[in-house]
Amino acid sequence: MANINEFHEESGITVRNACDGDLLRIIALDGQISGINKQEYWQESFRRFSGTKDGRHFLVAEKDGHIAGFIVGEIRAWEFGSPPGGWVFSLTVDPDTRLGGVATIMFDTICRCFKQAGVDKVHTMIDRSNITVMSFFRSQGMMAGSSIPLEIDLSEREESS
């Protein structure tokens, strides 16, 4: 069980478990960055990942009383054939607080949670065009993994069959 509530004196950032009152801000922040309102998706993600469920983490970073970012992940076993490992599904930082160490502190925290749970590898997946987030994960030492994501438009598949 991970009950996170950590204040980082140097940056003034607190990382803690997300709570009910954070949901609207999370939806708004994601909408601001992605340009898409995904209210239902975030409500469902919040239901699944928030609190102190084993291996699941929905963390927020708070600075000066505002939610400056959030990170979501969980431990999954044998996902795509991989041994148990941490997966980070979402990492979002308020553009006004970027380069302030928010993402690094959240990523450090979730990696520590994963490690304490006994896994030794963290995975994520990012769209190739999302250079900002990919650069961040690269700066944390992440490299291309052994899996390659594949996809197909279903209409294209129907045409070729």
Binding site: R128, S129, I131, G141, A144
Partner: protein, 144 residues
């Protein structure tokens, strides 16, 4: 993927200079470290200077220094000074390109291009220096 010699030399030079931000290094120091001709290196440094990634400091104790932003400058930024990264950028028509097989081969090669561009574009000079430190530590552990 294989980079042209000028691109590799440019990356080595930028990384060497960025790893020692308080120093100016002579072209001959860099040429000696990477075992390349001074003439070739001088041309590379001139091109990097035009791209505002390095600058020459004149006078006693002068030399070259990195003047870009290591947190912002990516490997792609450096390589693109010297060569097109994608086949599409390289242009030119190859025999067979206009056939059905040529068109489908272009789709596959385009996929490789996209991954190469995203990789080079997501790794900054600062990230490369961190990677270099990790590789050094790993090598030291393996040889201990």
């Amino acid at each position: 993927m294989k980079l042209q010699r000028s691109s590799r030399l440019a990356l080595y030079s930028v990384l060497e200079l960025a790893s020692r931000p308080d120093e100016q290094l002579s072209a001959s120091d860099i040429a000696a470290k990477f075992d390349v001709s001074l003439n070739h290196l001088a041309k590379v440094l001139r091109d990097l200077g035009r791209a505002r990634m390095v600058e020459a400091v004149r006078g006693a104790g002068g030399g070259y220094r990195f003047c870009g932003n290591a947190r912002r400058t990516t490997l792609k930024d450096v390589v693109e000074v010297f060569e097109p990264i994608t086949l599409h950028d390289a242009g030119g028509y190859e025999p067979g390109d206009k056939t059905d097989f040529g068109a489908s081969l272009a789709v596959v090669l385009g996929e490789i291009d996209d991954i190469a561009v995203a990789t080079l574009d997501s790794i900054t000079i600062e990230t490369m220096l961190k990677l270099t430190n990790r590789v050094q530590k790993q090598t030291a552990l393996e040889t201990a």
